[in-house]
Symmetry: C2
Subunit: 245 residues, 2 copies
């Protein structure tokens, strides 16, 4: 598929829809019924203009919202069954390792979705950022859900994404301790690290914590979580990323 | 159901399972197949002891994790279809208004779930916090999903929760502008309000913003979001809650 929207449009008009259908069938394992949904799934917001009469955006962002939820549910059930003795915190953590932005971008490339995504090539780096592909993958899950139903979407996620490409065992083993890593880094580099913590009651009586990693009196990263530990771990993970460690 | 776990246990042994089954059928609209799932859904962590041999907790927290995802998906699809011209940000915001902790607690009470939840009465206020009921509702959605499948869970959520109890129209109208409200409150009370903003790149090139509401040099609430506006709105909403406005 070309990145040029008009070119893509004419290609479809000229009968290339057959090739697109075939590509979707290859990726999802099922012949698409409503092809428009899949075209939408691969339409990045950079190629659509707002239509002033309806305010309608014909980009994949709405499908991405839906697909993100479906994907989260399928992975939640998968982990629920795979780890019958693990608690909710473990399941939550594992899921976020499977469906985080970076992992989704990687999965999208493995499925070859980058070749299907329609971008405005004039918009340069921002439009071509790697998350475009992960977002399209979520939108594709949303399209399969609307087109084929939940069972088919579940099967697609499990048999085409999770089982071939997600190494759940190694994910459980690399329960990386970001706080320790950060401390080691600080000691090696003669830096002083501290955490600033704030707790805040949310409606419903849940406490939400915000932890900031302060490096030589400068906040380098912030994390939130439902426990102090969770917030600090996330802040430490982000600090390591920000510091390029 | 009694809050005393042993009493509950004996009641079940003595044939009260029939009454429990009936209660579940009334609430969900379907006769349960695997009743144990529903017992689990109503078992608060305060009534279970960790079993040292397996480390197994028999509380509803795992089901809550699963049910939260299913509920999010069903509501996502509902909003996706109901608002075909609204963008992703609107759908996200509407969903969080429908499935937030407080709203779930209210829905749980409307379904009478508080009468089914098993709590340790010795643990006092913490165990009896209102979010117990909202959590049990999420766990119930997870139980219906495992017991009856996605379609049944979807039907339960739509026909027993969303359609009878969620006034979607009024939710769209009260797109309350929390920032304005907070400014008005500050002016009325002669306080100085400012926002501290931090942006941070997340993996995948997405920016995440953290906004803190600073009232007379003290942080009263923090919010995060994928835009400055979203982060500030959330921070303002939480500040209003924290200030009891």
């Amino acid at each position: 598929m070309s990145g040029l929207p008009l070119f893509g449009f004419f290609r479809r008009m000229l009968g290339h829809d057959k090739a697109f259908r075939q590509a979707i069938a290859t990726v999802t394992g099922r012949t698409p019924q409503n092809v428009r949904l899949y075209h939408l799934a691969f339409t990045h917001s950079s190629v659509v203009k707002q239509q002033p009469t309806t305010g309608r955006h014909q980009s994949n962002e709405r499908l991405e919202f839906l697909g993100d939820a479906v994907l989260g549910t399928v992975v939640a059930e998968y982990l629920f069954r795979k780890f019958p003795y693990e608690q909710e915190g473990f399941l939550t953590e594992m899921r976020s390792r499977i469906v985080n932005r970076e992992s989704l971008n990687g999965l999208a490339l493995k499925l070859g979705l980058d070749k299907l995504v329609q971008l405005d090539p004039g918009q340069g780096r921002a439009a071509r950022s790697r998350s475009v592909n992960g977002n399209a993958l979520e939108a594709l899950v949303g399209a399969v859900y609307l087109d084929q139903g939940y069972k088919a979407a579940r099967k697609f996620v499990l048999s085409r994404l999770v089982k071939p490409y997600v190494d759940v065992k190694s994910l459980t083993e690399t329960t990386a301790n970001f706080k320790s890593k950060l401390i080691e880094w600080a000691q090696r580099n003669g830096k002083a690290i501290r955490y600033d913590l704030n707790g805040e009651a949310r409606p419903g009586g849940v406490m939400e914590f915000t932890a900031s990693v302060v490096l030589d009196d400068e906040v380098v990263a912030t994390g939130m979580g439902l426990s102090k530990k969770q917030a600090e771990q996330l802040a430490a993970e982000r600090a390591l990323a920000a510091l390029g460690v």
